[in-house]
């Protein structure tokens, strides 16, 4: 395990002008490497699109669903991407309300990640239902069939929760970017100047604009905070509302929210490590930022590990044979490898973060974040697939193996997410100009003399 402490390349406190210049420099013409990476991502996306078209052409039978396991990779991946989104809102909204100054350099990356992750997650319930052209039936609109949606169904709750989350996160991201885009507009030339002139919405940083802006931003953060807690709670109730052993537990909402933030912080680390190096923003995104993210990982990782323990404890303590066999099957049944991947990646590896040297080692954190991402995908796989495979009656037990179509769509979802992220990173500031300036001291006359 690497334990080297990476020194900051530039340690001097940046000035306001430095911030504008350094962030604007990240938006220069893309390199050959950027286009190669984008090309690779689009190729993987094409595989995902082909897989989806195949499923549309031949029906859901091409997925590996086998009764009683009718929820598989699609719902697993849906929960995974919703979870990824959560740390973005934690960093951008919750830490904003706590006046946590360190968030300013990393929140834009996290918030953009949120929007693109929700955008990806929202596709999966549609893919899962098969006939995705009927997905609009979930929306309560007056229709010739003269019927309304069933508001008691968690599927309808999901629709409201996810679409609200996407809308509010997008608003929050756009509002936060407007002053930065205005700053870039004043420096850009050519087509970028035109783009930034339109997207800066006539922002000029006047006292009246800041007066309304700071209030609006505060209230958006205040609204986003309970929203983020509600969204993954609602997602957890997709399961907890069912009577399936392994699902029907009151712990699910806090367990899912902690897991979501845990996986999201891991994804922020995964994205920030290459980003700060490629964009040369080590001066703004420092080792201290990574240590703070590592502490968040440690905290949420401990909550997740505790939840795993509680799940097993309750299965034993309840005396319910169905719960007991379900959890026994998780650990020692056909899917033991998935369960132990989850337990090792999420419940054991994060204990390394108790060591300061590891918290401050960027290579170690990067590797750890990849393991957490892997572990969190498997957590959802275990909860969904393994629970469904061993419900009540032994004659109805089953086994599920995902088909190439499902793997293709899963890979395509990663490509879809990274494509948006890559396009965004090269055209809009990934480090907030105005908010980084906000925590820097503005020069004073007395200091100048």
């Amino acid at each position: 395990m690497a334990t080297t402490v990476e020194p900051d390349r530039q340690t001097a406190t940046p000035t306001y002008a430095d911030v504008t210049r350094d962030v604007a420099a990240t938006l220069g013409n893309p390199s050959r490497g950027y286009f190669l990476l984008l090309g690779f991502i689009v190729t993987v996306l094409a595989i995902g699109v082909f897989s989806l078209l195949w499923q549309i052409r031949y029906g859901l039978g091409v997925a590996g669903y086998t009764p009683p396991i009718m929820w598989g990779v699609y719902i697993t991946t849906f929960v995974f991407w919703v979870g990824i989104a959560h740390s973005g809102t934690l960093i951008s909204a919750i830490l904003f309300l706590f006046r946590s100054a360190w968030r300013t350099a990393v929140y834009r990356t996290a918030e953009a990640m949120t929007v693109f992750a929700v955008l990806t997650a929202g596709l999966f319930p549609l893919i899962h239902v098969g006939r995705l052209w009927y997905a609009y039936w979930l929306i309560p609109y007056p229709n010739q069939r003269q019927l309304w949606v069933n508001f008691k169904s968690p599927l309808v709750w999901d629709l409201f929760a996810i679409s609200t989350y996407l809308t509010v996160s997008t608003c929050f991201l756009i509002v936060g970017m407007v002053p930065d885009i205005a700053s870039l507009r004043d420096r850009a030339t050519g087509w970028r100047r035109k783009l930034y002139t339109i997207t800066s919405l006539s922002w000029r940083g006047t006292d009246q604009q800041w007066r309304h802006y700071t209030r609006a931003y505060l209230y958006l953060a205040a609204l986003a905070t309970p929203l983020v807690l509600s969204v993954h709670s609602v997602v957890s109730w997709d399961f907890a509302m069912g009577i399936v052993p392994g699902w029907h537990a009151t712990i699910f909402a806090p367990y899912f929210v902690a897991g979501a933030i845990y996986s999201g912080v891991a994804m922020v680390v995964t994205l920030l490590v290459p980003l700060r190096r490629v964009f040369k923003v080590e001066r703004y995104i420092t080792v201290d930022h990574f240590e703070n993210l590592a502490k968040l990982l440690l905290l949420t990782g401990m909550i997740v590990a505790y939840s795993y323990g509680i799940e097993y404890f309750m299965a034993w303590y309840s005396g319910n044979p169905f719960e007991q066999q379900s959890f026994w099957n998780r650990a020692f049944g056909d899917y033991w490898w998935a369960t132990w991947t989850m337990l090792i990646c999420n419940g054991m590896l994060p204990w390394l973060l108790w060591f300061r040297k590891i918290r401050r080692s960027i290579p170690a954190l990067f590797v750890l974040s990849l393991f957490v991402n892997l572990g969190m995908w498997f957590e959802r796989y275990v909860i969904i697939v393994v629970s469904l495979s061993h419900e009540f009656e032994p004659y109805a037990f089953g086994h599920y193996t995902p088909s190439w179509v499902e793997w293709g769509i899963l890979a395509g979802s990663f490509a879809w997410f990274f494509m948006w992220f890559l396009l965004f990173a090269k055209n809009f500031p990934m480090v907030s100009i105005a908010e980084v300036k906000e925590i820097l001291p503005f020069p004073r006359k007395k200091e100048a003399h």
Partner: protein, 168 residues
């Protein structure tokens, strides 16, 4: 609408800008515009605007969302009754989820509308300089030609690094 004539001053130091604002207010000047690259609390204190009314938009938006969520779920439940096990059609508990989400959604959209409305309503038609989004604070004071020497002296005394005459 054309921009008014007056003086546009640039400041490299925060205390110079706050001194200039204090002196302008003492001299009775109103309607000046202050530009800054980030929200700076000391500047906001010096200008001393009343609280933004955007908060009311958030409140009314949120309440509208809550009422919409309640009315929509209850009315639709009775308009197309799905009786399950003889339980009440309008069961509020599961509808809390919808009401909550609509409270947040309407509150956020309404906040955004409030921001757009008040930013438009208090739009300050004043000359602008790209430096004010970078590392300088700007103040534009609309004033007639005969008062400009006095205002220019006030700004220079406070520590303005540049004062430009802007014609209408």
């Amino acid at each position: 609408m054309a921009t008014p004539g007056g003086l546009l001053a640039a400041f490299r130091h925060l205390d110079a800008a706050t001194d200039a604002i204090d002196n302008l207010k003492k001299q009775g000047y109103e309607g000046f515009t202050v530009y800054s690259p980030a929200p700076i609390p000391q500047l906001a204190n010096a200008i001393d605007h009343p609280n933004s009314p955007v908060r009311l938009w958030t409140l009314f938006g949120g309440l509208t969302g809550l009422a919409t969520g309640f009315a929509m779920t209850m009315w639709m439940s009775y308009d197309y009754p799905v009786v399950v096990g003889g339980r009440p059609l309008g069961s509020v508990l599961p509808y809390v989820v919808i009401m909550f989400e609509l409270t947040i959604l309407f509150g956020a959209l309404s906040t955004l509308a409030g921001l757009a409305f008040h930013a438009w309503r208090t739009n300050q038609r004043a000359p602008y300089d790209g430096r004010f989004s970078d590392d300088q604070i700007g103040i534009f004071i609309p004033c007639p030609v005969e008062r400009r020497p006095a205002v220019e002296a006030l700004l220079q005394e406070a520590g303005a690094t540049e004062v430009k005459v802007e014609t209408a």
